[in-house]
Amino acid sequence: MTVAAVASLVVGIVIGFVGQRSRMCFVGGIRDWILARDTFLLKGLIAFGLVAWIAFPLSELAGGAPVGEFGRPAVTDLLLTVAGGLGVGYISVLANGCPFRQHVLAAQGSGGSFVYLTGFFSGAILFHIVVSPAILSILP
């Protein structure tokens, strides 16, 4: 488990560096393509999906831990996931970048993204103390 912590720190440093040098954003690609037919970030989004799709089975062949079964999703899970996904996409465009991009912007001195991050992390506490129990109490 501490292996995971160290590995995630290293992964974070690598993708943070790469993300700053490329201005990579996981919602910006679609936005830029609609607004200006600019494919710079969209290529990154598509490449991420395709490379991961190929890399999952390849890593298993190379002796990595296999990806487990996911099973068929229940209807309530599906509805909650769709609602959450819609919110992430819509608000991230208004906020001018996905969560990853906001971390990169904060690290290069953007005060606005810094404020965003304080909201982001407060939001995690809010979710587990208020939002998640509220949703569970409504569901059968």
Binding site: G12, G68, G85, S92, F100
Partner: protein, 168 residues
């Protein structure tokens, strides 16, 4: 003059420009490798998630400091994943060596704060930020694919909304 050239060269060496395509490839390999070889699991397809890993760090710390028992993903039970800390360090280093670090005062801070709260809540509801929703889709998770599809629709709607507001 000669000094200027040297600065330009060193900038090129330590802080190369990277294309979005290259960034996507590097991030995908890192995300899959973290899960397959470095124990960043369970849950599945958890290699990179800015929202969930950030949540793990916050709730793990809160559980340590107070007697709360907030949700922490299994991968973060013993010690939390430090992806978000790494991203901040890596991006800060890249910004400093490329001379792009510049402090900018926040405009409309309350709005930014609310956006942060909403995006985190949406991401935790969908069990993934924009990155992990795509990662789950690539791993063959139907639920993840539904979340990613919904995210794309949200992005498209918001972009058309922004354009409409800009053209008025």
């Amino acid at each position: 003059m000669e000094n200027d050239t040297r600065v330009a060269t060193s900038r090129h060496t330590f802080a190369p420009r990277i294309t979005g395509l290259q960034a996507g490839i590097v991030m995908a390999v890192a995300a899959v490798a973290a899960g397959a070889f470095f124990e960043v699991r369970p849950p599945e397809a958890y290699g990179i998630c800015i929202a969930c890993h950030g949540r793990d760090l916050i709730t793990w710390s809160a559980n340590r400091l107070t007697d709360s028992r907030l949700t922490v993903a299994p991968a973060s039970l013993v010690f939390p994943l430090l992806t978000v800390v790494g991203v901040l360090i890596g991006a800060w280093v890249a910004a400093v060596v490329s001379g792009e670090f510049r402090w900018r005062r926040p405009r409309k801070p309350l709005k930014k704060f609310v956006y942060g709260v909403l995006v985190m809540n949406g991401a935790l509801l969908a069990a993934g930020c924009s990155i992990r929703l795509l990662l789950r889709t690539s791993a063959g998770d139907l639920l993840g694919a539904a979340g990613f599809g919904a995210m794309v629709i949200g992005v498209v709607l918001a972009t058309f909304w922004l354009r409409r507001m800009a053209l008025r």
